[in-house]
C-alpha cells in the first residue's frame, strides 16, 4: 500500500501510523457520558470507502485525511487533515 502524501509525495505505508476513523467527533462536555463512551469506543467500521486519519510519522509529520476502500485497500484521496474534515 502506498500513500500519496501531499507534502512528501508517494510513500510506503510503513512510514505512516494509522489513527482510525476521521468522522469521529469529540462531543461537547454537556452531551454527557454516553456520548463520550460512543466517541471513545463506538466505531462505524464500514466495509467500503471511509475517511481515516494517518500520521506521516517517518516523513513530514503531518496528519492526513485518507479516503480508502477497506474492501480493497485502494486509496481514493489524500489531503492534510487540517484542510479536509469529513
Amino acid at each position: 500500500m502506498m500513500i500519496n502524501c501531499p507534502h512528501c509525495g508517494n510513500r510506503d505505508s510503513g512510514e505512516f501510523h494509522v489513527r482510525g476513523e476521521a468522522a469521529q467527533r469529540r462531543p461537547d462536555y454537556s452531551e454527557g457520558q454516553d456520548a463520550f463512551a460512543e466517541y471513545v469506543y463506538g466505531r462505524t467500521n464500514i466495509a467500503g470507502i471511509q475517511h481515516e486519519h494517518w500520521y506521516h510519522v517517518a516523513g513530514c509529520r503531518n496528519w492526513l485525511t485518507v479516503e480508502r476502500d477497506t474492501r480493497t485497500h485502494a486509496i481514493i484521496s489524500v489531503a492534510f487533515a487540517r484542510e479536509a474534515r469529513p
Binding site: S13, G14, G20
Partner: protein, 420 residues
C-alpha cells in the same frame, strides 16, 4: 438425519466395500419458513452454538445460516492454536472451559479434530518479562489451570534450536502450558456441522443475511436472506470479522474494528518444532502442522480492512521475528500466506451478550483468539440464547462493559484495537 458412526470398524467395513458406502457428513438443508432460533454464521462458533443448543439445551428448531460454505471463512484462516494462558479473572475461566471441552471434543462429536496437546511455550527475554510471566502463571494456577515457569536450561532441553544468545533478545526462560496445543481447524467445523445436523439442526449454506424484520415493538421476527425471508423468535449473530456489517442491518454500532491478520506456512519439514512457541520480544508464534509445515504469524497489519489479504511490511516484520527467534527457519521456503479478518474490540476481549434490539443476540469481538474459544463460545452463546441469561463464565463479556467502565483489559492497551 442420523449420521454414520465413525470408528475403526466402520473404516474396515468401508475398506472392504471399496469405500463406496460413505454418506455425506451432513445434510445440506434448504431453509424452512421459520425456526425458533437462527444462528447467523456457519463458522466454528455458529456451528458450535447450534450443536450445544440441540445437545445441551434441547432446542428442536435451530438453523445455521452461512453466506458462503462451511469452513470457508476464518475457520479456514487461523493458526489452529488452543490454550488458556490468560491473565484476567474474567478470561481465565472462560478459556479454561474451552480447553476442557477441547479435551473431550472428539469423543463427544465422534469426529477426529486432531486435538494435540503438545504444549504452548511463551518465551521471555528479560528479568521484567520473567516477572510478568510469573504473575500470569500464578494467576492461571490460582484458577486451577496448569502453568510451569521454565528456566533457560529447561527451554534448551525442549527446543535447542532457539537463538538463546541473541544479542538483543537473549532467552531467559518461558512459561509453559502443557495442556495447550493445536487442533485441525477444518475438522473442527466439519465435526460440529456433522454432529449438529445429526441432532436436527438445519445447516443452510449460500444464504446471506441481508436484513432484519422487526415488529412495532422493535422485536426481531424474521431475517431477510438471499434465499428469502426466514422467520425466527431469536436470532444470534456469530459472524466475527463482519460483526459491524451485520449489526448495521439492525442499526447497531459496535465497539469493534475489523482488521486483517496475516498467517504463513512453510514447505513441509520433518518434525522440528515441538509445540507452539511464542517470541516474547515481539509478537510472533510458530507451530508445526502434522503435515510438516511451519505455521506462523505475528501482528495485525494495523489498518482496518475487510480485504482478507495484507501487505508486505508485516510479511517482512514476521519473517524478521522468525529469524531473531530461530535462525534455522531461514533455510525453509515460505509456501503460502493469507489474511483473515479479525473483530478487534476496544479491550482485546470478546463479547457474548444480548443487544439493545429485542430478539437479537451477539457473539463476536474475538480479536485473534477465536479459534481456541470455539467450543466454550458455542456453549455460552447457546446458554444465552436458550435461557436468556449469560453462562457464569461469560457473564463479564458484556456489550455494555465499555460504556460502564468494566473493561476486560487483558493487555492494557486502551481503546486502540490495532494494538491489542
Amino acid at each position: 438425519m442420523s449420521a454414520q458412526h465413525y470408528s475403526i470398524f466402520a473404516l474396515a467395513r468401508q475398506a472392504l466395500a471399496k469405500h463406496r458406502g460413505w454418506t455425506p457428513a451432513w445434510h445440506n438443508a434448504a431453509p424452512r419458513e421459520r425456526y425458533d432460533i437462527i444462528v447467523i454464521g456457519g463458522g466454528g462458533h455458529g456451528l458450535a452454538t447450534a450443536y450445544y443448543l440441540a445437545k445441551v439445551f434441547g432446542q428442536k428448531s435451530v438453523a445455521v445460516l452461512e453466506k458462503g460454505w462451511i469452513g470457508g471463512g476464518n475457520a479456514g484462516r487461523n493458526t489452529t492454536i488452543i490454550r488458556s494462558n490468560y491473565l484476567t479473572p474474567a478470561n481465565i475461566p472462560f478459556y479454561e472451559m474451552s480447553l476442557k471441552l477441547w479435551e473431550g471434543l472428539e469423543q463427544d462429536l465422534n469426529y477426529n479434530a486432531m486435538v494435540s496437546q503438545r504444549g504452548v511455550l511463551n518465551l521471555f527475554h528479560s528479568d521484567e518479562q520473567r516477572d510478568a510471566h510469573e504473575r500470569r502463571g500464578n494467576a492461571m494456577r490460582l484458577h486451577g489451570v496448569d502453568a510451569e515457569l521454565l528456566d533457560t536450561a529447561a527451554v534448551r532441553k525442549m527446543a535447542s534450536f532457539l537463538d538463546f544468545e541473541n544479542a538483543r533478545f537473549p532467552i531467559y526462560g518461558g512459561l509453559l502450558q502443557k495442556r495447550g496445543g493445536t487442533a485441525r481447524h477444518d475438522a473442527v467445523v466439519w465435526g460440529f456441522a456433522r454432529a449438529a445436523a445429526a441432532l436436527g439442526v438445519d445447516i443452510i449454506q449460500n444464504c446471506e443475511v441481508t436484513g432484519f424484520v422487526r415488529d412495532a415493538q422493535g422485536q426481531i421476527t424474521a431475517v431477510e436472506t438471499s434465499r428469502g425471508q426466514i422467520g425466527a423468535s431469536k436470532v444470534g449473530m456469530a459472524v466475527a470479522g463482519n460483526s459491524s456489517r451485520v449489526a448495521a442491518l439492525a442499526d447497531l454500532r459496535l465497539p469493534i474494528e475489523s482488521h486483517v491478520l496475516q498467517a504463513f506456512v512453510s514447505e513441509g519439514l520433518k518434525p522440528v518444532v515441538p509445540g507452539v512457541i511464542t517470541f516474547g520480544a515481539g509478537h510472533f508464534y510458530i507451530s508445526q502442522s502434522d503435515k510438516g509445515g511451519l505455521v506462523f504469524g505475528g501482528d495485525l497489519d494495523g489498518y482496518k480492512s475487510y480485504a482478507q489479504r495484507g501487505n508486505l511490511p508485516i510479511v517482512e516484520d514476521v519473517c524478521e521475528e522468525a529469524m531473531a527467534l530461530m535462525p534455522m527457519v531461514g533455510r525453509a521456503r515460505l509456501l503460502r500466506s493469507w489474511g483473515g479478518i479479525m473483530d478487534m474490540t476496544m479491550d482485546g476481549s470478546p463479547i457474548i451478550d444480548r443487544t439493545p434490539v429485542p430478539g437479537l443476540y451477539f457473539n463476536g469481538g474475538w480479536c485473534y483468539g477465536g479459534f481456541k474459544a470455539t467450543p466454550a463460545s458455542g456453549w455460552c452463546f447457546a446458554h444465552l440464547l436458550a435461557r436468556d441469561e449469560p453462562h457464569p463464565v461469560a457473564a463479564a463479556h458484556r456489550l455494555d462493559r465499555f460504556a460502564a467502565g468494566h473493561l476486560i483489559d487483558e493487555k492494557g492497551a486502551g481503546a486502540q484495537p490495532n494494538l491489542q
